[in-house]
Amino acid sequence: MAAETLNTELSHEASGHAVFPPFESRTFSSQLLWLAISFGLLYYLMSKVALPRIAAVLEKRRLTIASQLDDAAVMQAKAKDASDAQDKSIADAKTNAQALAQRARDTLAAESDAGRKTLEAELEGKLAAAEATIADTTAKAMANVDSIATEAAHAIVERLTGKAAGADVVASAIAATKQS
Protein backbone atom coordinates (compact mmCIF):
# COMPACT_ATOMS: atom_id res chain seq x y z
CA MET A 1 0.00 0.00 0.00
CA ALA A 2 3.02 2.26 0.49
CA ALA A 3 3.62 2.57 -3.22
CA GLU A 4 0.09 3.69 -3.77
CA THR A 5 0.28 6.52 -1.28
CA LEU A 6 3.36 7.81 -3.03
CA ASN A 7 1.50 8.06 -6.29
CA THR A 8 -0.77 10.91 -7.03
CA GLU A 9 -4.33 9.74 -6.79
CA LEU A 10 -6.24 11.22 -9.65
CA SER A 11 -9.54 10.84 -7.89
CA HIS A 12 -8.38 12.74 -4.85
CA GLU A 13 -6.33 15.26 -6.73
CA ALA A 14 -8.39 18.35 -7.41
CA SER A 15 -11.65 17.99 -5.60
CA GLY A 16 -11.56 17.17 -1.96
CA HIS A 17 -14.19 14.42 -2.08
CA ALA A 18 -13.49 11.04 -3.63
CA VAL A 19 -15.30 10.10 -6.81
CA PHE A 20 -15.94 6.47 -7.64
CA PRO A 21 -12.82 5.87 -9.79
CA PRO A 22 -14.52 4.21 -12.80
CA PHE A 23 -16.79 7.26 -13.10
CA GLU A 24 -14.02 9.83 -12.68
CA SER A 25 -14.29 11.56 -16.04
CA ARG A 26 -10.95 13.34 -15.76
CA THR A 27 -9.16 10.01 -16.18
CA PHE A 28 -11.05 9.16 -19.36
CA SER A 29 -8.78 11.03 -21.79
CA SER A 30 -5.69 9.23 -20.55
CA GLN A 31 -7.40 5.84 -20.56
CA LEU A 32 -8.79 6.40 -24.04
CA LEU A 33 -5.42 7.42 -25.42
CA TRP A 34 -3.57 4.47 -23.95
CA LEU A 35 -6.34 2.07 -24.86
CA ALA A 36 -6.18 3.32 -28.44
CA ILE A 37 -2.41 2.93 -28.46
CA SER A 38 -2.31 -0.50 -26.83
CA PHE A 39 -5.36 -1.99 -28.54
CA GLY A 40 -4.29 -0.54 -31.88
CA LEU A 41 -0.87 -2.05 -31.40
CA LEU A 42 -2.39 -5.37 -30.38
CA TYR A 43 -4.71 -5.39 -33.39
CA TYR A 44 -1.81 -4.56 -35.70
CA LEU A 45 0.40 -7.27 -34.20
CA MET A 46 -2.35 -9.86 -34.30
CA SER A 47 -3.61 -9.16 -37.81
CA LYS A 48 -0.23 -8.60 -39.45
CA VAL A 49 2.12 -10.88 -37.52
CA ALA A 50 0.71 -13.33 -35.01
CA LEU A 51 -2.37 -14.74 -36.71
CA PRO A 52 -0.87 -15.15 -40.21
CA ARG A 53 2.10 -16.85 -38.60
CA ILE A 54 -0.04 -19.27 -36.57
CA ALA A 55 -2.19 -19.90 -39.65
CA ALA A 56 0.97 -20.70 -41.64
CA VAL A 57 2.20 -23.04 -38.90
CA LEU A 58 -1.14 -24.84 -38.77
CA GLU A 59 -1.34 -25.07 -42.57
CA LYS A 60 2.21 -26.34 -42.79
CA ARG A 61 1.49 -28.95 -40.14
CA ARG A 62 -1.67 -30.00 -41.95
CA LEU A 63 0.29 -30.43 -45.19
CA THR A 64 3.08 -32.30 -43.43
CA ILE A 65 0.64 -34.67 -41.80
CA ALA A 66 -1.26 -35.16 -45.07
CA SER A 67 1.91 -35.87 -47.06
CA GLN A 68 3.19 -38.21 -44.38
CA LEU A 69 -0.12 -40.02 -44.35
CA ASP A 70 0.13 -40.34 -48.14
CA ASP A 71 3.67 -41.68 -47.80
CA ALA A 72 2.45 -44.11 -45.20
CA ALA A 73 -0.35 -45.26 -47.51
CA VAL A 74 2.14 -45.81 -50.35
CA MET A 75 4.44 -47.72 -48.01
CA GLN A 76 1.54 -49.77 -46.80
CA ALA A 77 0.53 -50.63 -50.37
CA LYS A 78 4.13 -51.62 -51.08
CA ALA A 79 4.27 -53.73 -47.96
CA LYS A 80 1.01 -55.38 -48.92
CA ASP A 81 2.35 -56.16 -52.42
CA ALA A 82 5.50 -57.60 -50.93
CA SER A 83 3.55 -59.70 -48.48
CA ASP A 84 1.27 -60.90 -51.28
CA ALA A 85 4.31 -61.84 -53.36
CA GLN A 86 5.74 -63.60 -50.34
CA ASP A 87 2.49 -65.47 -49.76
CA LYS A 88 2.42 -66.46 -53.42
CA SER A 89 5.98 -67.73 -53.42
CA ILE A 90 5.28 -69.67 -50.24
CA ALA A 91 2.19 -71.21 -51.83
CA ASP A 92 4.17 -72.04 -55.00
CA ALA A 93 6.94 -73.61 -52.98
CA LYS A 94 4.38 -75.63 -51.06
CA THR A 95 2.78 -76.88 -54.29
CA ASN A 96 6.21 -77.73 -55.70
CA ALA A 97 7.19 -79.50 -52.55
CA GLN A 98 3.98 -81.47 -52.56
CA ALA A 99 4.46 -82.47 -56.20
CA LEU A 100 8.04 -83.45 -55.47
CA ALA A 101 7.01 -85.47 -52.47
CA GLN A 102 4.25 -87.16 -54.49
CA ARG A 103 6.69 -88.04 -57.23
CA ALA A 104 9.20 -89.39 -54.75
CA ARG A 105 6.46 -91.41 -53.09
CA ASP A 106 5.31 -92.78 -56.44
CA THR A 107 8.87 -93.74 -57.46
CA LEU A 108 9.49 -95.42 -54.15
CA ALA A 109 6.18 -97.23 -54.35
CA ALA A 110 6.93 -98.43 -57.91
CA GLU A 111 10.41 -99.56 -56.90
CA SER A 112 9.23 -101.42 -53.86
CA ASP A 113 6.42 -102.93 -55.95
CA ALA A 114 8.87 -104.16 -58.54
CA GLY A 115 11.19 -105.50 -55.84
CA ARG A 116 8.30 -107.26 -54.21
CA LYS A 117 7.23 -108.78 -57.52
CA THR A 118 10.68 -110.11 -58.37
CA LEU A 119 11.01 -111.47 -54.88
CA GLU A 120 7.60 -113.12 -55.18
CA ALA A 121 8.57 -114.59 -58.56
CA GLU A 122 11.84 -115.82 -57.11
CA LEU A 123 10.09 -117.29 -54.13
CA GLU A 124 7.51 -118.93 -56.39
CA GLY A 125 10.35 -120.40 -58.48
CA LYS A 126 12.02 -121.73 -55.36
CA LEU A 127 8.70 -123.09 -54.16
CA ALA A 128 8.12 -124.85 -57.47
CA ALA A 129 11.64 -126.29 -57.39
CA ALA A 130 11.12 -127.42 -53.83
CA GLU A 131 7.81 -128.98 -54.78
CA ALA A 132 9.49 -130.77 -57.72
CA THR A 133 12.22 -132.05 -55.40
CA ILE A 134 9.59 -133.22 -52.95
CA ALA A 135 7.70 -135.01 -55.74
CA ASP A 136 10.91 -136.55 -57.00
CA THR A 137 11.91 -137.64 -53.54
CA THR A 138 8.41 -139.00 -52.96
CA ALA A 139 8.56 -140.94 -56.23
CA LYS A 140 12.00 -142.27 -55.33
CA ALA A 141 10.77 -143.10 -51.88
CA MET A 142 7.76 -144.83 -53.36
CA ALA A 143 10.01 -146.85 -55.63
CA ASN A 144 12.12 -147.82 -52.67
CA VAL A 145 8.93 -148.84 -50.88
CA ASP A 146 8.27 -151.33 -53.71
CA SER A 147 11.68 -152.90 -53.46
CA ILE A 148 11.57 -152.91 -49.63
CA ALA A 149 8.11 -154.49 -49.74
CA THR A 150 9.29 -157.10 -52.22
CA GLU A 151 12.33 -157.90 -50.14
CA ALA A 152 10.23 -157.98 -47.00
CA ALA A 153 7.66 -160.17 -48.67
CA HIS A 154 10.40 -162.55 -49.88
CA ALA A 155 11.90 -162.69 -46.44
CA ILE A 156 8.53 -163.25 -44.73
CA VAL A 157 7.55 -165.97 -47.20
CA GLU A 158 10.94 -167.67 -46.85
CA ARG A 159 10.74 -167.56 -43.06
CA LEU A 160 7.17 -168.82 -42.99
CA THR A 161 7.39 -171.45 -45.67
CA GLY A 162 11.03 -172.19 -45.69
CA LYS A 163 11.26 -171.81 -49.40
CA ALA A 164 11.65 -168.85 -51.61
CA ALA A 165 8.61 -167.34 -53.13
CA GLY A 166 8.23 -166.77 -56.79
CA ALA A 167 9.27 -163.27 -57.75
CA ASP A 168 6.31 -162.69 -60.05
CA VAL A 169 3.85 -163.86 -57.37
CA VAL A 170 5.29 -161.38 -54.86
CA ALA A 171 5.30 -158.60 -57.40
CA SER A 172 1.66 -159.21 -58.31
CA ALA A 173 0.72 -159.45 -54.62
CA ILE A 174 2.40 -156.12 -53.91
CA ALA A 175 0.81 -154.58 -56.94
CA ALA A 176 -2.58 -155.85 -55.70
CA THR A 177 -1.93 -154.44 -52.23
CA LYS A 178 -0.92 -151.09 -53.70
CA GLN A 179 -4.05 -151.12 -55.80
CA SER A 180 -6.30 -151.41 -52.81
Binding site: E9, P21, T27, S38, L42
Partner: protein, 247 residues
Amino acid sequence: MDPIHQFSLSKWLPLDVAGRDFSLTNSAFYMLLAVALVALLTIVCVDRNATVPGRAQSVAESLYEFIANMVRDAAGESGMKFFPLVFSLFMFILICNLIGFIPYTFTVTSHIVVTATLALIVFFTVLIVGFAKNGARFLKLFVPSGVPIAVLPLVVLIEVISFLTRPISHSVRLFANMLAGHILLKVFGGFVVLMLGLKGFGALTALLPFAATVAFMALELLVAVLQAYVFAMLTCMYLNDALHPGH
Protein backbone atom coordinates in the same frame (compact mmCIF):
# COMPACT_ATOMS: atom_id res chain seq x y z
CA MET B 1 -9.04 -1.69 3.34
CA ASP B 2 -11.07 0.55 1.07
CA PRO B 3 -12.54 -1.87 -1.52
CA ILE B 4 -12.82 0.95 -4.05
CA HIS B 5 -9.24 2.07 -3.77
CA GLN B 6 -8.01 -0.71 -6.09
CA PHE B 7 -9.83 0.93 -9.00
CA SER B 8 -8.19 4.34 -8.68
CA LEU B 9 -5.66 5.39 -11.26
CA SER B 10 -2.23 6.66 -10.34
CA LYS B 11 -0.07 8.76 -12.63
CA TRP B 12 3.23 7.04 -13.25
CA LEU B 13 4.38 9.44 -15.94
CA PRO B 14 2.45 12.72 -15.97
CA LEU B 15 1.66 14.01 -19.43
CA ASP B 16 -0.57 16.99 -20.17
CA VAL B 17 -1.53 18.04 -23.68
CA ALA B 18 -3.66 21.17 -24.10
CA GLY B 19 -5.10 20.95 -20.64
CA ARG B 20 -6.06 17.31 -21.10
CA ASP B 21 -4.50 14.58 -19.06
CA PHE B 22 -2.78 11.85 -21.08
CA SER B 23 -0.52 10.59 -18.31
CA LEU B 24 0.86 7.09 -18.38
CA THR B 25 -1.08 5.59 -15.51
CA ASN B 26 -1.15 2.16 -13.89
CA SER B 27 -4.09 1.41 -16.20
CA ALA B 28 -2.03 2.32 -19.28
CA PHE B 29 0.86 0.24 -17.99
CA TYR B 30 -1.29 -2.86 -17.56
CA MET B 31 -2.87 -2.36 -20.99
CA LEU B 32 0.59 -2.31 -22.51
CA LEU B 33 1.63 -5.27 -20.36
CA ALA B 34 -1.38 -7.22 -21.62
CA VAL B 35 -0.42 -6.43 -25.22
CA ALA B 36 3.15 -7.52 -24.49
CA LEU B 37 1.97 -10.78 -22.90
CA VAL B 38 -0.36 -11.57 -25.79
CA ALA B 39 2.44 -10.81 -28.25
CA LEU B 40 4.79 -13.01 -26.21
CA LEU B 41 2.37 -15.91 -26.32
CA THR B 42 1.26 -15.62 -29.93
CA ILE B 43 4.45 -14.40 -31.60
CA VAL B 44 7.55 -15.15 -29.54
CA CYS B 45 6.38 -18.56 -28.36
CA VAL B 46 5.32 -19.67 -31.84
CA ASP B 47 8.07 -21.39 -33.77
CA ARG B 48 7.33 -21.16 -37.47
CA ASN B 49 8.96 -24.52 -38.19
CA ALA B 50 7.59 -26.54 -35.31
CA THR B 51 5.71 -29.54 -36.58
CA VAL B 52 5.16 -30.60 -33.00
CA PRO B 53 4.27 -27.50 -30.97
CA GLY B 54 5.75 -26.77 -27.57
CA ARG B 55 3.65 -26.04 -24.52
CA ALA B 56 3.18 -22.30 -25.03
CA GLN B 57 2.72 -22.77 -28.77
CA SER B 58 -0.02 -25.35 -28.15
CA VAL B 59 -1.80 -22.79 -26.00
CA ALA B 60 -1.48 -20.12 -28.70
CA GLU B 61 -2.67 -22.55 -31.39
CA SER B 62 -5.58 -23.75 -29.25
CA LEU B 63 -6.66 -20.16 -28.65
CA TYR B 64 -6.34 -19.46 -32.37
CA GLU B 65 -8.50 -22.42 -33.30
CA PHE B 66 -10.96 -21.79 -30.48
CA ILE B 67 -11.61 -18.21 -31.61
CA ALA B 68 -11.47 -19.14 -35.31
CA ASN B 69 -14.14 -21.80 -34.76
CA MET B 70 -16.21 -19.39 -32.73
CA VAL B 71 -16.12 -16.76 -35.49
CA ARG B 72 -16.81 -19.35 -38.18
CA ASP B 73 -19.74 -20.88 -36.26
CA ALA B 74 -21.35 -17.58 -35.31
CA ALA B 75 -20.63 -15.37 -38.33
CA GLY B 76 -19.89 -17.84 -41.12
CA GLU B 77 -16.86 -18.05 -43.41
CA SER B 78 -17.28 -14.39 -44.45
CA GLY B 79 -16.96 -13.45 -40.78
CA MET B 80 -13.33 -14.60 -40.83
CA LYS B 81 -12.43 -11.11 -42.08
CA PHE B 82 -13.07 -10.00 -38.50
CA PHE B 83 -11.15 -12.84 -36.93
CA PRO B 84 -8.18 -10.57 -36.00
CA LEU B 85 -10.58 -8.13 -34.31
CA VAL B 86 -12.37 -10.83 -32.33
CA PHE B 87 -9.09 -12.51 -31.43
CA SER B 88 -7.56 -9.19 -30.29
CA LEU B 89 -10.65 -8.36 -28.23
CA PHE B 90 -10.76 -11.78 -26.61
CA MET B 91 -7.06 -11.90 -25.79
CA PHE B 92 -6.94 -8.30 -24.56
CA ILE B 93 -9.92 -8.76 -22.24
CA LEU B 94 -8.82 -12.20 -21.09
CA ILE B 95 -5.29 -11.13 -20.22
CA CYS B 96 -6.45 -7.87 -18.60
CA ASN B 97 -8.97 -9.82 -16.51
CA LEU B 98 -6.36 -12.37 -15.48
CA ILE B 99 -3.71 -9.76 -14.66
CA GLY B 100 -6.26 -8.29 -12.24
CA PHE B 101 -6.00 -11.41 -10.10
CA ILE B 102 -2.43 -10.65 -9.11
CA PRO B 103 -2.45 -8.62 -5.87
CA TYR B 104 -1.45 -4.94 -6.19
CA THR B 105 -2.15 -4.94 -9.90
CA PHE B 106 -4.88 -3.01 -11.65
CA THR B 107 -7.81 -4.43 -13.59
CA VAL B 108 -8.08 -2.45 -16.82
CA THR B 109 -11.49 -3.91 -17.63
CA SER B 110 -12.98 -2.66 -14.35
CA HIS B 111 -13.31 0.78 -15.93
CA ILE B 112 -16.44 1.50 -17.93
CA VAL B 113 -14.60 3.82 -20.29
CA VAL B 114 -12.38 0.95 -21.45
CA THR B 115 -15.15 -1.61 -21.88
CA ALA B 116 -17.42 0.97 -23.52
CA THR B 117 -14.70 1.88 -26.00
CA LEU B 118 -14.23 -1.77 -26.90
CA ALA B 119 -17.99 -2.23 -27.22
CA LEU B 120 -18.26 0.88 -29.39
CA ILE B 121 -15.50 -0.39 -31.67
CA VAL B 122 -17.67 -3.45 -32.22
CA PHE B 123 -20.85 -1.38 -32.55
CA PHE B 124 -19.44 0.92 -35.20
CA THR B 125 -17.77 -1.94 -37.03
CA VAL B 126 -21.17 -3.65 -37.22
CA LEU B 127 -22.84 -0.42 -38.34
CA ILE B 128 -20.26 0.44 -41.01
CA VAL B 129 -19.84 -3.09 -42.32
CA GLY B 130 -23.60 -3.63 -42.24
CA PHE B 131 -24.36 -0.61 -44.41
CA ALA B 132 -21.29 -0.97 -46.62
CA LYS B 133 -22.06 -4.61 -47.42
CA ASN B 134 -25.86 -4.58 -47.54
CA GLY B 135 -26.82 -0.93 -48.07
CA ALA B 136 -30.43 -0.29 -47.14
CA ARG B 137 -31.01 -4.03 -46.81
CA PHE B 138 -29.18 -3.77 -43.51
CA LEU B 139 -32.34 -2.15 -42.12
CA LYS B 140 -34.10 -5.49 -42.58
CA LEU B 141 -32.31 -6.39 -39.36
CA PHE B 142 -34.98 -4.34 -37.59
CA VAL B 143 -37.89 -5.93 -39.44
CA PRO B 144 -38.26 -9.56 -38.45
CA SER B 145 -40.08 -11.63 -41.04
CA GLY B 146 -43.41 -13.26 -40.22
CA VAL B 147 -44.62 -10.61 -37.82
CA PRO B 148 -48.27 -9.42 -38.24
CA ILE B 149 -48.43 -5.93 -39.76
CA ALA B 150 -50.40 -4.62 -36.76
CA VAL B 151 -47.61 -5.17 -34.27
CA LEU B 152 -44.78 -4.54 -36.73
CA PRO B 153 -44.15 -0.88 -35.74
CA LEU B 154 -43.86 -1.91 -32.13
CA VAL B 155 -41.51 -4.80 -32.97
CA VAL B 156 -39.37 -2.53 -35.14
CA LEU B 157 -39.18 0.00 -32.30
CA ILE B 158 -38.10 -2.72 -29.88
CA GLU B 159 -35.54 -4.05 -32.37
CA VAL B 160 -34.07 -0.58 -32.91
CA ILE B 161 -33.85 0.09 -29.20
CA SER B 162 -32.29 -3.29 -28.54
CA PHE B 163 -29.77 -2.65 -31.32
CA LEU B 164 -28.86 0.79 -29.95
CA THR B 165 -28.51 -0.48 -26.39
CA ARG B 166 -26.18 -3.27 -27.47
CA PRO B 167 -22.98 -1.35 -26.73
CA ILE B 168 -24.34 -0.53 -23.26
CA SER B 169 -25.16 -4.11 -22.33
CA HIS B 170 -22.03 -5.30 -24.08
CA SER B 171 -19.76 -3.02 -22.06
CA VAL B 172 -21.59 -2.92 -18.74
CA ARG B 173 -21.69 -6.72 -18.55
CA LEU B 174 -17.91 -6.93 -18.57
CA PHE B 175 -17.32 -3.82 -16.48
CA ALA B 176 -19.83 -4.75 -13.77
CA ASN B 177 -18.63 -8.33 -13.54
CA MET B 178 -15.03 -7.32 -13.05
CA LEU B 179 -15.86 -4.44 -10.71
CA ALA B 180 -18.21 -6.46 -8.52
CA GLY B 181 -15.87 -9.44 -8.40
CA HIS B 182 -12.92 -7.39 -7.28
CA ILE B 183 -14.95 -5.50 -4.69
CA LEU B 184 -16.24 -8.79 -3.33
CA LEU B 185 -12.75 -10.25 -3.06
CA LYS B 186 -11.45 -7.10 -1.41
CA VAL B 187 -14.31 -6.97 1.10
CA PHE B 188 -13.86 -10.57 2.15
CA GLY B 189 -10.09 -10.13 2.20
CA GLY B 190 -10.64 -7.12 4.48
CA PHE B 191 -12.78 -9.28 6.81
CA VAL B 192 -9.91 -11.74 7.11
CA VAL B 193 -7.56 -8.96 8.21
CA LEU B 194 -10.13 -7.47 10.63
CA MET B 195 -10.93 -10.82 12.26
CA LEU B 196 -7.29 -11.74 12.59
CA GLY B 197 -7.00 -8.65 14.78
CA LEU B 198 -9.49 -10.09 17.28
CA LYS B 199 -8.18 -11.30 20.64
CA GLY B 200 -7.78 -15.01 21.52
CA PHE B 201 -10.01 -17.51 19.72
CA GLY B 202 -11.74 -14.65 17.91
CA ALA B 203 -8.89 -14.68 15.41
CA LEU B 204 -9.94 -18.18 14.33
CA THR B 205 -13.17 -16.74 12.91
CA ALA B 206 -10.98 -15.25 10.18
CA LEU B 207 -11.03 -18.73 8.65
CA LEU B 208 -14.63 -18.17 7.50
CA PRO B 209 -14.05 -15.13 5.28
CA PHE B 210 -10.76 -16.71 4.22
CA ALA B 211 -12.60 -19.80 2.94
CA ALA B 212 -15.11 -17.51 1.24
CA THR B 213 -12.27 -15.59 -0.40
CA VAL B 214 -10.77 -18.81 -1.75
CA ALA B 215 -14.15 -19.88 -3.09
CA PHE B 216 -14.83 -16.46 -4.65
CA MET B 217 -11.35 -16.48 -6.15
CA ALA B 218 -12.24 -19.65 -8.06
CA LEU B 219 -15.57 -18.18 -9.08
CA GLU B 220 -13.96 -14.93 -10.21
CA LEU B 221 -11.40 -16.84 -12.24
CA LEU B 222 -14.29 -18.48 -14.04
CA VAL B 223 -15.99 -15.11 -14.48
CA ALA B 224 -12.80 -13.53 -15.85
CA VAL B 225 -12.47 -16.18 -18.55
CA LEU B 226 -16.18 -16.40 -19.17
CA GLN B 227 -16.63 -12.65 -19.62
CA ALA B 228 -13.84 -12.53 -22.18
CA TYR B 229 -15.57 -15.39 -23.97
CA VAL B 230 -19.00 -13.74 -23.72
CA PHE B 231 -17.63 -10.45 -25.04
CA ALA B 232 -16.01 -12.19 -28.02
CA MET B 233 -19.08 -14.38 -28.62
CA LEU B 234 -21.43 -11.39 -28.66
CA THR B 235 -19.04 -9.60 -31.00
CA CYS B 236 -19.32 -12.55 -33.39
CA MET B 237 -23.11 -12.52 -33.19
CA TYR B 238 -23.28 -8.78 -33.81
CA LEU B 239 -20.90 -9.15 -36.76
CA ASN B 240 -23.14 -11.91 -38.08
CA ASP B 241 -26.00 -9.39 -38.09
CA ALA B 242 -23.86 -7.02 -40.13
CA LEU B 243 -22.95 -9.73 -42.65
CA HIS B 244 -26.31 -11.50 -42.84
CA PRO B 245 -29.00 -9.01 -41.77
CA GLY B 246 -32.01 -11.16 -42.76
CA HIS B 247 -33.22 -12.89 -39.61
